[in-house]
Symmetry: C3
Subunit: 446 residues, 3 copies
């Protein structure tokens, strides 16, 4: 294991949040669902930045226990009152229609209308986000306060949607590294106008992938933009014998634009390099970090971590899903995400990449007693009370570089930031005090 290149450091960009926000804002208005043109339009936006490979999986295709559903598209939808006024309009918010609603065009009483309306009584000003992918039906979503104000009337309800044979669409981009071993980044693309969940994740990964173009990395990085659940399942079905076998690390990325967290949910395996690296990075942030054990509910880590795959993939978020009032409501809009938080999230992910890229095992070439750092100009020559963190990092790296401890092991045991351990490692390598392979004269047994 050689000391790796540091090309990944070029990914660091303290102000990345501005660009990420701009792209999130650009794709925010599109009405996405698990299939249909909303997803295709979104992927085309990503393609403007990346040579994306876009896949279409036909309706009816069997993917493990699942079947690709009919494709859903919607042109317009509204509710008009007896006076002909549009009181609910899809053009104003695509959350107003339950995703996968069947087409409808009729007049209904208030009572019948209420049977087809979802609201949030506890959050009466917000429109809920609802879906009904695998059951037939139609419904509107609206603010509870508005529903309460509706009077007995004859309402015209129109949903101009189509649910018909078509395909499911997903896109992927592979950044080739020195090895075929892959790091998978996965974002769901199936939600309509929800800014944090998951315009933020799509935008962050698009930005990351674009910055990676042209860089030399050790690992290959795959970026998957796919509808939640069925998209991840379709990808796994298509790549079971291929890419899925080459995945060594991975992150599901969603809700990365709000100011909560950061939150990391470990992979099912629980102590893989991605788990350790992500925890190490988050603990250095000084923010209100939450580290959660794996559980089988959440985003697409559910599929990646199913027992037949059991991939080392965790979930990175700011606030945890379903724990904040904006979750799955119209409150998750562009005002809810901030460039500042997107920058932080981006930075934490890049630092995690840095650990995964750089972690390696070295051998102290002078394992018996300490090397004399002073004569190499590596060490303060006048003794004093304090020893700098940088000196401690050198001592730790030398002491633990016995072939059994990687740099991440050393960072964990020393409680020093990985980047300081890495800097000390480079310095010691430069002076010949660390080797990649076991020195020919081994340590003496005690």
């Amino acid at each position: 294991m050689e000391l790796r290149g540091d090309d990944w450091e070029q990914l660091l960009a303290p102000d990345a949040g501005e660009e990420i926000f701009a792209f999130a804002a650009r794709i925010f208005p599109i009405c996405r669902s698990i299939t249909g043109d909303g997803v295709r339009r979104t992927l085309r936006e990503i393609e403007a930045h990346l040579p994306l490979e876009v896949h279409e999986v036909p309706t009816g295709t069997e993917v493990f226990d699942w079947t690709i559903p009919r494709e859903w598209n919607i042109r317009d939808a509204y509710i008009k009152n007896g006076a002909g006024e549009k009181i609910v309009d899809f053009a104003q918010s695509n959350l107003h229609v339950m995703s996968y609603s069947l087409p409808v065009r009729k007049r209904v009483s208030l009572a019948e209308l209420k049977d087809h309306v979802h609201t949030l009584p506890d959050q009466p000003d917000l429109i809920p986000y609802r879906t009904s992918y695998y059951a037939d039906g139609w419904a509107f979503c609206m603010a509870h306060r508005q529903l309460q104000q509706l009077r007995e009337d004859s309402y015209e309800v129109v949903i101009d949607s189509r649910l018909e044979s078509g395909s499911l669409t997903y896109g992927e981009y592979l950044h080739k590294g020195e090895t075929d071993e892959e790091f998978l980044f996965s974002a769901h693309v199936c939600h309509p106008s929800l800014a944090n969940d998951n315009c933020s994740g799509m935008a962050l990964l698009t930005h990351l992938a674009r910055r990676m173009v042209g860089l030399q990395t050790r690992l290959s990085y795959r970026f998957l933009f796919a509808p939640g659940t069925i998209g991840a399942i379709a990808w796994l079905a298509a790549n079971e014998a291929g890419s899925a076998r080459r995945i060594r690390h991975g992150l599901v990325v969603s809700m990365v634009g709000d100011g909560g967290g950061p939150t990391y949910k470990k992979s099912r395996r629980g102590n893989e390099p991605i788990d350790r690296a992500m925890q190490h990075v988050l603990r250095q942030t000084g923010m209100a970090t939450t580290i959660e054990d794996f559980s089988p509910y959440g985003y697409d880590e559910r599929q990646y971590c199913s027992p037949g795959f059991n991939l080392p993939i965790g979930l990175f978020q700011r606030s945890k899903y379903a724990t904040i009032p904006q979750y799955h409501t119209s409150g998750d809009n562009l005002a809810f995400i901030k460039a500042e938080h997107l920058s932080e999230s981006y930075s934490e992910i890049v630092k995690t990449i840095g650990i995964i890229e750089s972690d390696a095992v070295y051998y102290n070439t002078i394992p018996k007693c300490e090397p004399q750092l002073g004569k190499r100009g590596l060490y303060s020559r006048v003794g004093g009370k304090n020893i700098a963190v940088e000196n401690m990092a050198m001592l730790w790296v030398l002491n633990l570089s016995d072939g059994d401890h990687s740099l991440l092991d050393i960072a964990e045991r020393s409680k020093l930031p990985f980047e300081i351990v890495l800097r000390a490692t480079r310095l010691l390598r430069g002076h010949g005090l660390l080797a990649s392979g076991r020195p020919s004269v081994g340590p003496a047994g005690p």
Copy 2:
């Protein structure tokens, strides 16, 4: 490992405490010791409910390092003052005589009397319980306040006891299950009128065994009613090459009628199924549970967990022995135990049986990605913010049923009650989503 029958569920009985209390009250007055007719009378009471196998081990029989002592019986005992008034009367409380007291009939001064009286100065109204099994002597026990009021006088002391060759008596009942593997329940029968310690334990096990008659269980259940220490040792000596080798789980049961605890003391091995099951059950109670590591002092787990046997047997109690003021005093009477607490104790033991009976390893038959629960009617079809505990249980069971995790493992990791995990398992089994053996197409390696 097939999904086991659920006959054990018929043991559940929320109001079992009433019957248990009644039986405890019935055997409470009997003057028991480690040998003698008190034990025999007690076992005959149990025999009224169970086809008990009663053993007599003759005085002088060597059992490991011990020898069966002479048999002790007592007809009457009292202290009369100079006026001929009985001031202490065995007929009123059999605690008044130190167990294994030699016969005595003489007049003594107050000073000599005091040399033969045990009291509790810190609990001046209670009679202590004292024994002297392996040393010759005689003594009375009385309330300290009464002793202090005694004046100089000529006292007549009479203990009409016999200590002579005979035998030690114990009883056992075996409920045969599908396998010869045994679950041992053990209660000591040697204490006189102490309601909690251990009329409660004897009564609870009698009730449990009686309810088990006719049920089909996977394990065989052995109920042992034996005098403390020497009885357990005699049983182990007799069954060293037999039943003792077939014990896979066990509980010593004592002091199960008071409102303290519950308290579980782990087996010497410390992490056996009985230890994990009991802890799981107790943590679900919401009561002031105490889990203790094994220590070599206590009840007959001392013998079962001696290094030459090292059986997976723990101790179940409510209050821990020797931690409450009533312990080994006349305060441990029928007013101290309650049907309500006996019901709770019974229920916790039955739930533990349920875990041991039901725990098994299954295989998810669709291990790659999640099975589609919705199309099987197993899952809420309209997405929302919350997912019910029952749904989570299904997801956990599917995710962890990879052949490496038993249902108890899953309950522990998911922090869900075992019974909910079991219910989900049955539902998934019913839909063919779990198999007992490894599916022929194994999971893909990552």
Copy 3:
């Protein structure tokens, strides 16, 4: 493994602190450095008590990555002001001269003087201790308050030192035990007049070694008095294939006379017998014990625990180095150390020796059920509420003496002091209840 002799108990000496203090006071005034006559004089003082083997390693000798430096000696040093008054005088405190200062004799301005003066602005009344072993230069150390009062003047600075080819000196004493396995005690001898750091350590080890003369011990004990870092490295280089391979336990001993701590820093291995024994002893003290994980900064454990040696050697101190205001200042004088604290430190070290000497694995000769302690007079015959600690110790030793648990294991698991476990072990051995080897009839499997 036989029950070992208890000669080590003769080391116990509650008032050892008086003698240790007296010796520390005797060697306190000597001006030591890493080479030179100060070290030789100190070793001669130790030789008055012990047949010390003194080694001289010539300047220029290569020891691993290091080279033995020139020898430094100093006769006198002072600063005189323009009026000819000595304002700083080496004869008053040898801390006034930076160790390894080159000779100098000239007149300097106040500005130039300040370039060659070390002070402690935060502790303005104390003289700092400074060294410059491997870089040429000269400097004085003084109280900051004094420096601030100096006026513009012409100062005469004189350091009458020599830095020339010579040798590095260290001493060692080996107490031969029954086996060649060694316990290394190591104290640095290179600091000038610092009472706690490390006159206290040298004096404690001298006292311990002297008391050990004539005692029969299982292990051999090596006492090393060597200059910090370079001395330990020189010893390791000379003994790499010999003594260093026989070390099974070790302690670096420094700063053992103040009232802080005690502090134990574990060996790099972290769970060796020395680590467990030391922790066990310290936890029994009832003092403000600190147990620290290994880190590669500190005293000579840095060398012993370098990856090429990785010896099971920890560091014993009272206050941890660099955590108290007196550290490396003139405040570390004879008033700072107390006989009382030296007694405590000595006692903790001797108790640790006792554990290492006595720890062994025994077999309960009656492993099935408990042996009847009563018939052997080992146990209270009348049952009662409480059982003494001594009884518990017997029960624990019997229960865990299955060939898998040593006495230290038993002490740790039972949370009983090792000495009580050891006393119970001796009692049980005396009654034939414990054997050193596995009994011919093994325990029955369950």
